[in-house]
Each structure stands twice: as structure tokens, then as C-alpha cells.
């Protein structure tokens, strides 16, 4: 199964990635290969098997509602490419 270039562009757009024509072609090939792999898995007969999410019937461990401090603001922002006024600074977003 081969993705169209438009589909790759759409996926890139959802991920907020701007791709060059060469990159689009490259990712089209790679993404198509991944889909091919999954379509092989699709051929398995799983009619008797519960979906993963339901197969794990053990009850989920829940956490008591107790707060404890997280990272210091300084540590949190340490690796941010840009920060200002104790916040992450990012390209403009307008709602």
C-alpha cells in the first residue's frame, strides 16, 4: 500500500512539520513500508482474541490523591530552547 503525497503532506501538517519535496518522497516511502508491515499483521486471524485493552483484566492500580512537589521552575525550563518570565517561549499561537 502506497500513501499519496497529499496524505504525507496532511500527516506532516498535523504534526506541524514543514517538509521539503525530497523529504516528502522519503517519508512517503518509509511510512508506506510501515503500513505494509501492519497490513501483514492484519492478515492474522484474531477472531478469538480480545482486543489488548480489554484482554488486560487486572484492575488498574490507582494512586492516592496526595500532592508532592514536582520540578523546580528552573529545572523545568533548563532545556527549553527559549524561556521568559518563568515560562516556555514558543512561536506565536493565536486562537
Amino acid at each position: 500500500m502506497t500513501l499519496t503525497l497529499q496524505e504525507v503532506e496532511h500527516i506532516a501538517n498535523l504534526a506541524r512539520l514543514e517538509l521539503s519535496p525530497a523529504e516528502l518522497a522519503l517519508y512517503r516511502e518509509q511510512l508506506s513500508a510501515i503500513l505494509d508491515h501492519f497490513s501483514r499483521l492484519q492478515q492474522l486471524d484474531t477472531s478469538g482474541v480480545l482486543p489488548y485493552s480489554e484482554a488486560r483484566q487486572e484492575s488498574m492500580p490507582l494512586r492516592p490523591d496526595q500532592a508532592r512537589p514536582g520540578l523546580s521552575t528552573e529545572a523545568l525550563l533548563k532545556n527549553a530552547p527559549a524561556a521568559e518570565d518563568d515560562q516556555f517561549r514558543v512561536p506565536p499561537v493565536l486562537d
Binding site: 498535523l14 504534526a15 480489554e54 484492575s59 494512586r63 490523591d65 514536582g70 525550563l77 515560562q87
Partner: protein, 493 residues
């Protein structure tokens, strides 16, 4: 421009309510008031979306969600599944929001609302758990344009409550939102502090020819956080869509924002088209399997809910619909009323209710206090009202006594004693006052005798003034009538 009756609106509501927990939904970071806290003081690797971390669900958030779902008479799913809702936006550090999609926590409930046309049950489609996003601030500075990200709110537990499209008027929409807010507060799930954005409402609105069974194209208004904005925006949207259809145009399906200043809805660029969220089950969390005994325990522990209390206050205490509604809206107020009544079961409930909704609410509004903060306990108010009912003090005196009680925290009896405010019903004293007033105002008495009967009311006021407002008005009235009649008779004779 009035909406002609030939179009009918069909409205559904989505409400996002933050759950009042100590810590976040999937990590132990404290939940802070994001409108006042310094930015990024309650963030850890989990809610910052760092690699290699794992979410763990907050038990209290599940419990509060169950309280709400049960209060909304929903069916609770014995097994529900968390899912990833994928989109890229700077307020969402992981690149996905953990939510519930195909298998929500609860479905098929209902909430009763009371509107001018009567009682109505609004069906609830689903209730599910998710997490809140961070907060973005747009900045224009030194010719640069950028956004700042505060993640304090990212990961705060959020409950989404979705109705069926059962609402048809702005009044119903408002009544539903207010009833839901009241219910959320009753069960302790949400503070109801609308200005802080802890409850956000998104109506979707469509119109269709009245009587038609088909649904029209709908628009969605995002992120409303006041009842006024909700009611106005829905009203505007109904008119706008009706007008389009009347002119033979089509309604475009879109996401709208509400411009409060201009009073209009405006198109918004939507973050993503719905089908591109690429939901899939959250691989880091097993399904949420609920212990039926726990659910039953929560159901048993639910308090009496606002709608039931509203009906009971009218039936059991004979309150008006208005008084019942006002008292019931907030649980502490309803509790206060019932505690006061329990202290003096012989008091007329209506009178007690009027003191609370009148004088007490007036004070609370003026001084911005809640009923838990005022210095007058329920039993103390009941004592005061008891003194009015028995005639010990009159209504006006009681108002100033209550003001003093609210100020100082003293009891009614204390205030009355200290200020010598006890109502004077003593016949001889009151007759003396009446005689003095009549003697001091011969002209007015003359004009009364010549047929100007309204002067009697003025004379009454003079007697009350002389008695510094403490005279029992009924005794004064009777004494005055008697004296005037006597003068009249001696005159004609």
C-alpha cells in the same frame, strides 16, 4: 428583531469541569489556582511530557467523577478505557491528551431542570475523565510576537459531561448549566468558581423548521465561562441561523467564539478536524475496572441532590418555588436554612426563608461573604425571627438588630437588651405617646376631622417616631384609631 416561531432550535451542551483534587490526574503535582499562582511551579516530568514517564490515575478523581455520574443517574461502565487524543499545540506538552473515547466512564443519565414552562429532564449522553491543558499567553513586545506557556494547569483532572440535544431555548440552556453547576458543588466535585475557568461550557446549536424531525447543520461555540455569555451567545446564534435559513442560505458547520463586547459569534480556526485526532487506546494505562462495591458505596454516600431538595422545600416547608430555588442553589445555604428551622421548628418556614434571602443575602453581597463566614449561626437567626414572630420586637427593629449581630456576633437577645430595643406594647405608654402627638399637631388633627383621612397615616408615623420605632405598630394603630374616633364624636356632638 424577534425570532419568528417558524424555526426551532436544537441545542446540546458539553461541559468541562475541573475536579477538586489535591493532585493532578496522572501525577502527584499539586493542583494550584492557575489564575493566581506563579507560572510553572506545579509541573513534573509526567505532566511536562518528558520521555520515559508513566501516568498513574488519581483515585480521588475517579471517585469524584463517579459521584457526578451517579448524581446524574448514569449507567456506570464496569470497564472503561483511556485513549490518546492526538494533536499538536503548545499547551499540550505530550502531543496528545489522555481522555476517554469509545468506552467512557458513564453513559445514559439525566438532569432535571426547572424552567418557566415547568420541569424537564435533560438526557446526559456521556460522562468521561480526561486531563486539562496548560495555559497560553500571547505577547506582543518590542515588535516581536510570541506565546508563553504555563503548565501548572496541564494534567489537572477534568470531567467532560455531554448532553443529548434536548435543549431548545436560551432559558433552558442557562437553567441546565446552573443546575449542573449546583450539582457539581453539592457532590464536592467542583468549586463552581466560573471566573477561574473551572467550568467551561460549549453549546452546539442548530435550527430547523418547527415540527421537523431532521436536525439542521450545527455550529459549536467554544469555551464559555459565564451563564450570561452562554445565554447571550446561544440566543444570538439561534437568531443568526434562523435568519440565514429564512433568506434561503445555508448554515456552515464551524467552530465559533463569543465576542462579549460586540455581542456576536465569530468564526474560529479550529485546532484540528475531529477525525484527525487519531484516537487510540492509551497503551500506558490498563482499562479502568471498577469494583462494584466501591461504586455502590459512593452511590449510598451521595447527599440529597438539588432537584430533590427543591421539591421537598416546597412540599414539606411550603416555600415558594422562588425561595426554594434560591435556597437550594448552594448546599451551605440550604443546610443553613434547615439548621435554623431545626433550632426553632415552630417558626413559619416562609418567614425564616425570607430573612435569609433578603437580609442575610444583602449582607453577604455587600461584604462579599459566604454563609459559612457570617457571624450569625443558624440558631441565632432563628432566635431573632422568633422574637419578631412573638411580637417582642418589630420587623424594622429586627433588621437593625440583625445588622448589629452580623457586625459583632452577639445574640439577638443581647443586642435588644443592650440597646433597649424591646418592643413597647404597654398600653398606657403608647396612649400617652398618641395623646402627645395629637396635642402637638392641632392643624393636622383639624384637617383629619374635615375629612382628610390620609392624615391618620402621617399621625401614625409621628407616634412611631416618638416611640423611637419600638412601639408595637398594631397597638399604636388601635390606640390612634380610638383617640381619633373619640375626638370626632365629641366634635359632632
Amino acid at each position: 428583531m424577534g425570532v419568528r416561531q417558524d424555526y426551532e432550535a436544537v441545542i446540546g451542551l458539553e461541559v468541562h469541569a475541573e475536579l477538586q483534587t489535591e493532585s493532578k490526574m496522572f501525577c502527584a503535582c499539586p493542583v494550584v489556582d492557575s489564575t493566581v499562582a506563579a507560572p510553572n511551579i506545579a509541573v513534573c516530568p509526567v505532566c511536562a511530557g518528558m520521555p520515559g514517564v508513566l501516568p498513574v490515575v488519581n483515585r480521588r478523581a475517579v471517585e469524584l467523577a463517579l459521584r457526578v455520574a451517579l448524581a446524574l443517574e448514569c449507567e456506570i461502565a464496569p470497564l472503561s478505557v483511556f485513549a490518546r487524543k492526538n494533536y499538536f499545540y503548545p499547551d499540550l506538552p505530550k502531543g496528545y491528551q489522555i481522555s476517554q473515547y469509545e468506552q467512557p466512564l458513564a453513559r445514559n443519565g439525566g438532569l432535571t431542570i426547572f424552567v418557566s414552562t415547568g420541569e424537564k429532564r435533560v438526557r446526559i449522553r456521556r460522562v468521561h475523565l480526561e486531563e486539562d491543558t496548560g495555559k497560553l499567553t500571547h505577547v506582543e513586545k518590542n515588535g516581536q510576537s510570541y506565546s508563553l506557556v504555563d503548565l501548572n494547569r496541564a494534567g489537572v483532572p477534568l470531567l467532560e459531561i455531554v448532553t443529548e440535544p434536548d435543549l431548545h431555548t436560551p432559558e433552558e440552556v442557562r437553567a441546565y448549566a446552573m443546575a449542573l453547576r449546583s450539582l457539581l458543588r453539592y457532590v464536592g466535585a467542583n468549586s463552581g468558581d466560573m471566573q477561574k475557568g473551572v467550568m467551561r461550557i460549549e453549546p452546539n446549536v442548530s435550527v430547523r423548521p418547527a415540527g421537523s424531525a431532521e436536525l439542521g447543520t450545527r455550529t459549536e461555540i467554544k469555551n464559555l465561562n459565564s451563564f450570561r455569555a452562554l445565554e447571550r451567545s446561544v440566543d444570538y446564534e439561534i437568531r443568526r441561523q434562523s435568519e440565514l435559513l429564512r433568506q434561503g442560505q445555508r448554515v456552515v458547520q464551524q467552530t465559533l467564539g463569543w465576542d462579549e463586547a460586540r455581542g456576536v459569534t465569530v468564526a474560529q480556526r479550529s485546532k484540528e478536524e475531529a477525525h484527525d485526532y487519531r484516537y487510540f487506546p492509551e497503551p500506558d494505562l490498563p482499562p479502568l475496572v471498577l469494583d462494584p462495591a466501591w461504586v455502590e458505596q459512593i452511590r449510598r454516600d451521595l447527599p440529597e441532590l438539588p432537584a430533590a431538595r427543591y421539591r421537598r422545600f416546597q412540599q414539606q416547608h411550603g416555600l415558594s418555588a422562588y425561595n426554594a430555588e434560591v435556597l437550594v442553589a448552594e448546599r451551605p445555604v440550604a443546610d443553613y436554612f434547615e439548621a435554623a428551622l431545626a433550632a426553632r421548628p415552630e417558626l413559619p418556614p416562609k418567614q425564616l426563608a425570607n430573612w435569609i434571602t433578603g437580609e442575610l443575602f444583602g449582607w453577604m453581597n455587600t461584604y462579599n461573604q459566604s454563609i459559612d463566614e457570617i457571624k450569625v449561626a443558624p440558631a441565632a437567626l432563628a432566635e431573632l425571627v422568633g422574637m419578631v414572630v412573638s411580637g417582642e420586637i418589630n420587623q424594622n427593629t429586627a433588621k437593625s438588630v440583625l445588622a448589629e449581630m452580623l457586625e459583632s456576633g452577639k445574640s439577638a437577645a443581647q443586642v435588644v437588651k443592650e440597646k433597649g430595643l424591646r418592643q413597647v406594647s404597654d398600653q398606657a405608654q403608647i396612649e400617652a405617646w398618641v395623646e402627645q402627638v395629637l396635642a402637638d399637631n392641632p392643624t393636622q388633627v383639624e384637617s383629619y376631622l374635615s375629612g382628610k383621612e390620609t392624615v391618620a397615616q402621617w399621625l401614625f408615623g409621628q407616634v412611631m417616631r416618638l416611640g423611637r420605632g419600638q412601639a408595637n405598630p398594631q397597638v399604636v394603630q388601635q390606640a390612634l384609631q380610638r383617640k381619633l374616633l373619640a375626638i370626632k364624636q365629641s366634635h359632632t356632638r
